[in-house]
Symmetry: C2
Subunit: 330 residues, 2 copies
DNA sequence: TTGAAAGCGTTACCAC
DNA sequence: GTGGTAACGCTTTCAA
């Protein structure tokens, strides 16, 4: 591997000059700079990341924490982040933080080992406030995605879940439904709470009594949508519509309804939340609330980059709006 | 951030002793070692990654290249790799190599910048032989997944695609089908070629004439399955079964069949390949060939780790067997 | 068993 | 504009 010293020797200058030339800094004559650049190319020079970050104390790397990188939900988010990172030159380091306990491991690998300059944290487990606090204390720049944390020092990007759920439920009401069940997410998550709120709000507005019995809690995976839908079918046969807190659970619900030989949307209408890629392929295609995930990823990355570059100050909150996508399940 | 020097000072020893103690090397008295370990804990010491890898020339990081990290197909593969990496202490650095051209960027970010100790490359684009060759030349340890490259120096892990496709097709034949179409993948990919071969082999064995007209090529995404299925329906109404080279295209085919008011499997039977999570949720649930993806990820990671640790030599080839999962689409 | 010192490749500071 | 040198935090070698 060629080093800066090799180039310096060949060019007949000092290593420091080479460094400055390569980094486009002031104080290098054009002609020597040209020579150095030419030599670097010829000699196939690439800066050593470790050496550089040892002195600059920067890694040009951003850590991404999410519950499970392989959830289809995250794919667009990741792409949005990558798109910006490719432009700004940052490298992304992913970490699956399956559980809160794992946070500790991430802290080790990313923060203490000083592998990243900042963090993007996706997910809204409401018990994880402490983690944010400890990051704040350590002065690690970070942005929270899918989470609206009121602390004025933290950066948040989230979608208006209340509004999205409200619109979905309202749409069902407009279609004439009065007995509308809600398959909620795990209520440890802010998004689950918010979507439940939106559902209630629409009911209230339409003078429909809110009934706790019609709200069943799943945990965002299709299996729980399937199981809870079976319960609803058994205990509340008068239901004519269901609003599921995410698409995965809606898929499971669809499955349960199909198995019960009922048809969607004629017997039961169903609306999901997220608009996963697959949602246009269900039978019937799923009506759902689309989250601008690609855009969320982009915004999160842009924001963190700006903060790392000193172009923005901490404490920025960004709200994005979801959109009701009407297909054929409601 | 506490450094080794800080600990050395407090312990009244030299930095080198601290280093040795922390790394469990010979030549440190138990009592001083205990003291150092205790101090390290108290003072919240964590080694600086950059400094360490600058001298050891190791990053304890493995680069993962794949076409598109967000493809559901890859999720289990990633989990398998992570599982092993967590055990061995390696950090994973992902890179989406959407296209061959991108290889260059990856080389820069990972190899030239010396950010990784080795590479796992997932994908089977047959035009990418040169990339492997250049890695070989640079002496970067790597393993290829989903690819059987005959060069005796390269490590490969792949599934028996020919066998899987053969079994799927044979199953259709056993169900009485004679006019069986094949929605192939992009034939630049080895896996697409292999699955086509397996299909032919089963036909041949059953004395069914192979007809090129019944093979249409998609590019592995559902849209192409949808489009090609429409063609098949129009031009070959006598077809009673379809073998799709992957599940995504099978989903599209299912969609096209449903839209044509035909039923699966009565009018047309369909088999996919991969067994994505979603395949048990289609209507009807998809019969498909399951790839042991989690296991592939694990094996790939184990193999690379062993090679990096000097416990295995290059040139290892591993074949895994796919399994026919019979659901209700065929 | 311990310590001193060199060195990894880079940047940054200060003198020329 | 340029060069020398120290420094980043760590491991390794060699001598004590």
């Amino acid at each position: 591997m060629t080093t800066i010293k090799d180039i310096a020797r060949k060019a007949g200058v000092a290593p420091s000059v080479v460094s400055r030339a390569l980094n486009n800094k002031y104080g290098v004559k054009d002609s020597t700079k040209d020579l150095i650049l030419k030599l670097a190319q010829e000699m196939n020079y690439y800066p050593n990341t470790a050496a550089r970050s040892l002195v600059t104390r920067k890694t040009e790397t951003i850590g991404i924490m999410m519950a499970d990188i392989s959830e289809p939900y995250y794919s667009q988010l990741i792409k949005g982040m990558e798109y910006i990172a490719n432009q700004t030159g940052y490298t992304l380091l992913f970490s699956n933080s399956y559980e809160s306990v794992e946070h500790n491991r991430v802290l080790h690998k990313m923060i203490y080992a000083q592998r990243v300059d900042g963090l993007i944290i996706v997910g809204s487990n409401i018990q994880e406030k402490n983690f944010s606090l400890s990051l704040l204390e350590k002065k690690i720049p970070f942005v929270l995605v899918e989470r609206n944390f009121s602390d004025p020092r933290v950066n948040c990007i989230w979608v208006d879940n209340v509004g999205g759920a409200y619109r979905a439920t309202k749409y069902l009401i407009e279609q004439g439904h009065r007995k509308i069940a809600h398959i909620a997410g795990n209520l440890y998550y802010q998004v689950a709470l918010d979507r439940l709120d939106g559902y209630k709000k629409a009911l209230l507005e339409a003078d429909i009594d809110y009934s706790e019995e019609l709200v069943v809690s799943g945990n965002f995976v299709w299996q729980s949508g399937y199981a809870t839908m079976k319960d609803i079918l058994r205990h509340h046969p008068q239901c004519t519509a269901v609003f599921a807190a995410n698409d995965a659970m809606a898929y499971g619900a669809l499955q349960a309804i199909t198995e019960a030989k009922l048809t969607v949307p004629d017997d039961i209408a169903i609306i999901g939340f997220d608009d996963l890629e697959f949602s246009s392929l269900t039978n019937p295609p799923l009506t759902t609330v689309r989250q601008p995930r690609y855009q969320m990823g982009q915004k999160a990355m842009e924001l963190l980059t700006d903060i790392l570059r000193g172009e923005k100050k901490n404490g920025i909150k960004i709200t994005l709006n979801p959109e009701l996508i009407i297909r054929r399940s409601a």
